[in-house]
Symmetry: C2
Subunit: 213 residues, 2 copies
């Protein structure tokens, strides 16, 4: 690694996605011109990230506290679980302020070609949450007073891709026999979009999913 701190920081910044060599240099000089607290705050946040962030033992969200703030919030409806592929997906749903239930993060989607089967996803962590408290394998979580079981609906919010659809189908086969309602988020034309430019598949799904007004 280079001796020069500016060059060293530039090389590291350039490894970030979407950051080329020139942008990396601009960022390094920006840090240099910023108040000294900025560099130290950023350094501290980076170290804290690796030290403090772990998976929530209930929903597999990334969190500094276990259970995560959403699982620990008694205001959130424990009877509805929204299943997402990733934490950014979870954050995107949180930003809508439309969903007041809990989550389950799979950390991926089924993709046999990439060697990702059910065992590579956090699916086995989902099932205990759907059975009654007595049937839970996780006695520790139960003792901590967390709501396990009593789930009435599982919303599958995986991506509208081949992998996401396959994952939704797989989950349906697992969850339906447990007597829990399982739903899929609507697929259709995006708001503000133009029908003329919507792709065929999206438009077909929009027609199939039409609702009475």
């Amino acid at each position: 690694m280079s001796q020069d701190p500016i060059a060293r920081l530039t090389v590291l910044f350039a490894r970030l996605p979407g950051v080329g060599e020139k942008t990396a240099q601009r960022l390094a000089f920006h840090v240099l011109k910023s108040p000294p607290e900025y560099a130290s705050d950023l350094a501290e946040a980076l170290l804290a990230l690796r030290q403090e962030v772990r998976l929530c033992s209930v929903c597999c969200n990334l969190t500094a506290t276990d259970p995560c703030p959403i699982c620990a919030d008694p205001q959130r409806d424990a009877k509805i679980i929204c299943v997402v592929e990733s934490v950014p997906d979870l954050l995107a749903i949180e930003r809508t302020r439309e969903f007041r239930g809990r989550y389950h993060v799979l950390h991926g989607a089924l993709s046999p070609l990439d060697g990702i089967g059910p065992d590579q996803l956090k699916i086995k962590e989902l099932l205990p949450r759907l059975v009654e408290p007595g049937g839970s394998a996780d006695g520790r979580a139960e003792a901590a007073g967390r709501s396990i079981g009593g789930v009435e609906e599982v919303i599958v919010a995986t991506d509208p891709t081949v992998e996401g659809e396959a994952t939704a189908l797989y989950l349906t086969k697992l969850v339906k026999p447990l007597g829990v309602r399982i739903t899929r988020i609507a697929q259709g034309v995006p708001m503000g979009g133009d029908l003329e430019y919507a792709d065929q598949v999206t438009l077909a799904r929009a027609l199939q999913g039409r609702r009475e007004i």
Copy 2:
């Protein structure tokens, strides 16, 4: 500041130029997915930046060693000094591999409207370098064996803007009486450009600066 390390890092990333909230979040998750060394290397580079980087006492370049590697390199021609506004400008010229002299970084350009006069720039640091060794006020640098004085040419490579031009003019008035040759980098149509799209001022300068072929 937020308690959650991911949110904290996202907020800090979002303060970088050209990085919005969504990009900041993507960067934070990228760091989280990278090998742990990446976050610690980045944190270390950030801290080193503030601790190690200072101004070169000769040319005002940003450097971890004083004098900077360029001033300390005996292979670089001490008889030519290229004056630039900023360190990124210096690095841009270094990338051309066209210049083997030394530099002087002004850290800005004259801009009376922004309250930047000659005293806000590193101009007073330039003048001692142009006079003979005996005339130098900086005895310390001289004792360290650095080349002071004996300068034959000053190339003014400030930006081709109103501020850069004003700075060039100001420097000319200061340097000419010392009997040192002062030159300005050529202004004209950029390589790979199209005359049709060149602006009037650039084209006018290109005509004025025409050379025999």
